[in-house]
């Protein structure tokens, strides 16, 4: 296991390095941060001063060298716009993204497993078709559309929930609810399919021949086997959430890393972009290891 993690860490480090190099050069193709930081009628002298202050006037390879040097000293540079260490800004935002992603994913997993299993048991029945259609429609409706309609309905018309922002648990309901829809729609289908095939597995027959009750039959014998393919999909979906949920964050004023990322990209705040990619990539790497661990916990055959 430790060897596996080590190997993956090296592979990921390699990927991450390539990624960072690509981002570094590609992002610098996208224009001059000085023009964006300063007002439109700023003088050329001011722009030059800005570039000089942030080292943007040097040749790009020199900039790259300096960046590498700093990164090796764990210095990820300063935000061009916020006059703060980029990594601090990113970690602050990540402290919001992480619980949002985890809460959402936890709910998705619980709901998808429960409803997906029910659908698999009633295959072809009303519940099965209902779950399929609702999840499919939910997953194919634009999320910003749902978000704004949800605000109109739940915050304004019904006045049950605050419109936006963070602070109380109530504030989390709508963002979590809207982020929930798409991964749920996908995972519930995977759970259903996986449960269907697991239910026809021979060991289920054995369990029935043993006289095992339906409850343990489903949730002890079948589910654990059915979870294996589901975990891969859960991993992909969780990775998407760990990258930040830019639309939901934008609409609900949620200070997460998705909004930070798009703002930094649009403002060409290169150091923040780099730091954000670094942090999200590490988070996803850790999650992948957790997924691997989950695999080997669930399936003893993988342990060797």
């Amino acid at each position: 296991m430790i060897k596996l993690v080590g190997q993956r860490a090296i592979a990921s480090l390699l990927s991450l390095s390539v990624l960072m190099v690509m981002v570094f050069f590609l992002s610098r193709l996208t224009g001059d941060p000085a023009a964006l930081f300063l007002p439109i009628d700023a003088t050329e002298q001011m722009k030059e001063q800005f570039r000089a202050l942030h080292g943007l006037d040097r040749p790009i390879l020199e900039q790259f060298g300096l960046y590498i040097r700093d990164v090796l000293h764990l210095d990820f540079g300063e935000s061009l716009r916020r006059a703060r260490p980029a990594i601090d800004i990113v970690l602050e935002a990540y402290a919001w993204t992480l619980p949002l992603a985890l809460i959402t994913m936890a709910l998705v997993i619980v709901a998808a497993i429960f409803l997906g299993s029910i659908a698999a048991f009633n295959v072809g029945g009303v519940i099965d078709r209902g779950i399929s259609v609702v999840s499919l429609i939910g997953a194919s409706a634009p999320d910003f559309w749902i978000a704004i309609v949800a605000i109109v309905v739940f915050a304004i018309n019904l006045a049950w929930l605050p419109t936006s922002g963070v602070g109380t648990p109530w504030h989390w309901i709508m963002p979590v609810g809207i982020l929930f829809i798409r991964p749920f729609g996908l995972i519930v289908q995977v759970v259903r399919g996986s449960m269907l095939s697991a239910l026809s597995a021979p060991y289920v027959k054995t369990a029935r021949a043993k006289g095992v009750k339906n409850g343990p039959l489903i949730f002890v014998h079948t589910l654990r086997n059915a979870m294996l393919p589901v975990i891969t999909v859960i991993g992909d979906q969780a990775a998407a959430l760990l990258n930040g949920a830019v639309i939901v964050e934008t609409i609900f004023g949620f200070p997460g890393v998705g909004k930070l990322m798009i703002d930094s990209i649009l403002q060409r705040d290169f150091n923040v972009v780099m730091a954000a990619i670094l942090v999200t990539a590490i988070a996803i790497f850790i999650m992948n290891i957790l997924i691997d661990i989950a695999y080997s916990i669930l399936d003893p055959r993988i342990r060797q």
Binding site: A201, P202, Y203, K205, T206, A207, R208, A209, K210, G211, V212, K213, P216, H221, R224, N225, L298, D299, P300, R301
Partner: protein, 538 residues
């Protein structure tokens, strides 16, 4: 007549499928008493498992529908009691074991957990269950039972898994044990051990044993009474001896007639030129030696059988000769040229001369290709027979040669039965007019009657076309009927080779002797005699 322990009366079950209704069993009746062993004998599709599934309430309804019938156990009508009542009965009064213990054991739980669950599911305290599990696992002969309980199914061998299944089934001392093809996937020696274990346990506990099988040998070895099923109906019943010696029904006669190992032993033909000469062939996977210093020669028109149990290296031998795996050492001279070191380009041309028929035609035929595409693919690869019409005609001819219809050209493999599929695979091999066909357990997956047909076909082709065979098998009966030379392999080594006559009548190596002893004879009398003379495997 006292009331039997378990009685199935006039049971009829239909399966409703998208393709229509299939009458799986019709008017099936049988019963079994305490201490008795009843065998239900039949080939695939005969419906032999259906009544047992009905007893265990394992039929999925739909698609299955129990049209009529009754099942009595201790005064209860099992088809009328509630789901919950039936559940309480399963495992406790009637237990069941299955053909494929790897599939039927849950891969993600320890075997200990699964065995213990048999008791906890019926409300027994867990400490008691643990103690009993340990006792039974020891009893069924698993080494290091304490450790074994903490292991997972994949960590055991096939025979051990079946023993564990048996231990699990016996946890609650059931009255009846239903065993659905319990030894089919096992090697002969292991099969003998497991059957012996079942026999012993039955004698200890006095339970009734219902054995579902396709193998006359198993019936002869263990059954007191037998019912023979064909196409959903019971065609014959009686004691094992009665049925074997005085079969009344034509089907039973056919079945007994098809049992291999009864024909004349072939005598080696006159000396012919050497086609293949293998020497010093070796293959290792990591620390595991799959093949050690294999050497033999194969003459034109000869059928050479390679026998051995799983893991003996017989498939590896075939695969290294074919260069599906690269051998570590050694040579395989094909008409004087070494296949092992031959460049890829030359090899492609030679592939035309050596063809292979695999064990499972369901897997070896690409499910997305039609029969025509499958058979003609070789010509496409080797640029033969460019004329489409000629191709078509030749495919139809080949199909007729393997006793299929020319109209089958445009069908897909799934539309055929197992035996038909294997014939398609043979037709495909024949299409390239090879000089050698390697058959890797080519008939093991087939029903006896189909097996006999396929073997007859191969034999016929040898006579007509002078094809040589490298015939890999574990079924000694088939080998005895077909081969003129036999290689016996064990743990990667050829332990004995000689003419079929010599091997079967005077085996030299202890392993060959053991193998022959464990081979079940379909005649109950011979089996009984063997048991008496103590030649049965320990």
């Amino acid at each position: 007549m006292p009331e039997a322990l378990l009685t199935v009366k006039n049971l009829s079950v239909d399966f409703h499928t998208a393709r229509g209704t299939v009458h799986a069993v019709r008017n099936v009746s049988w019963s079994v008493n305490r201490g008795e062993t009843l065998a239900i004998l039949g080939e695939s599709g005969s419906g032999k498992s259906v009544s047992a599934s009905a007893v265990m309430n394992l039929l999925d309804t739909p698609p299955a529908e129990i049209v009529s019938g009754e099942i009595f156990h201790e005064g209860k009508e099992l088809l009328k009691i509630s789901y919950e009542e039936h559940r309480a009965l399963n495992g406790k009064k009637i237990a069941m074991i299955f053909q494929d213990p790897l599939g039927h054991l849950n891969p993600v739980y320890t075997v200990g957990w699964q065995i213990v669950e048999m008791m906890t599911a019926h409300g027994r305290p867990i400490e008691m269950a643990r103690a009993r599990a340990l006792e039974l696992v020891t009893r069924v002969g698993i080494p290091e039972p304490e450790k074994a309980l903490k292991k997972y199914p994949h960590q055991f061998s096939g025979g051990q898994r079946q023993r564990l299944m048996i231990a699990m089934a016996l946890m609650l001392k059931p009255d009846i044990l239903i065993a659905d093809e319990p030894t089919t996937a096992l090697d002969v020696t292991v099969q003998a051990e497991v059957l012996a274990l079942l026999k012993e346990l039955q004698q200890e506990t006095g339970m009734a044993l219902v054995l579902i099988t396709h193998d006359l040998g198993v019936v002869a070895e263990i059954a007191d009474r037998v019912v023979v099923m064909s196409e959903g109906e019971i065609v014959e019943e009686g004691t094992a001896r009665e049925v074997y010696h005085k079969p009344r029904h034509a089907y039973t006669r056919k079945l007994i007639g098809a049992a291999p190992g009864k024909g004349d032993i072939r005598q080696p033909g006159p000396e012919a030129s050497v086609l293949l000469e293998v020497s010093g062939l070796e293959k290792t996977y990591g620390n595991f030696t799959a093949l050690k210093d294999a050497a033999f020669t194969l003459a034109r028109g000869q059928s050479l059988a390679v026998v051995g149990e799983s893991g003996s290296g017989k498939s590896t031998l075939a695969r290294t000769i074919l260069r599906l795996e690269q051998a570590d050492k050694g040579t395989a001279l094909w008409k004087g040229r070494d296949l092992i070191t031959m460049p890829q380009r030359d090899l492609l041309a030679i592939r035309q001369q050596i063809q292979m028929v695999f064990q499972d035609p369901t897997q070896s035929l690409n499910p997305r290709m039609s029969v025509y595409q499958l058979i003609s693919e070789g010509w496409e690869i080797h640029g033969l027979m460019p004329d489409r019409k000629a191709r078509r005609a030749r495919v139809e001819e080949l199909l007729e040669q393997v006793e299929l219809l020319p109209s089958h050209c445009d069908r897909y493999p799934h539309q055929f039965s197992g035996g038909q599929r294997q014939r398609i695979a043979i037709a495909r091999a024949l299409a390239l007019e090879p000089e050698l066909i390697i058959c890797d357990e080519a008939v093991s997956a087939l029903d006896v009657s189909v097996q006999a047909q396929v073997m007859a076909l191969l034999d016929d082709l040898r006579a007509k076309l002078g094809i040589s065979y490298l015939f890999i098998a574990h079924d000694l009966g088939v080998v005895r009927d077909f081969a003129d030379t036999v290689l016996v392999m064990k743990e990667g080594e050829i332990v004995e080779q000689g003419s079929t006559e010599a091997i079967f009548s005077a085996p030299q190596h202890p392993y060959t002797q053991r193998l022959l002893a464990a081979n079940l004879d379909p005649d109950p009398d011979i089996q009984a005699q063997r048991a008496r003379s103590g030649r049965a495997a320990p």
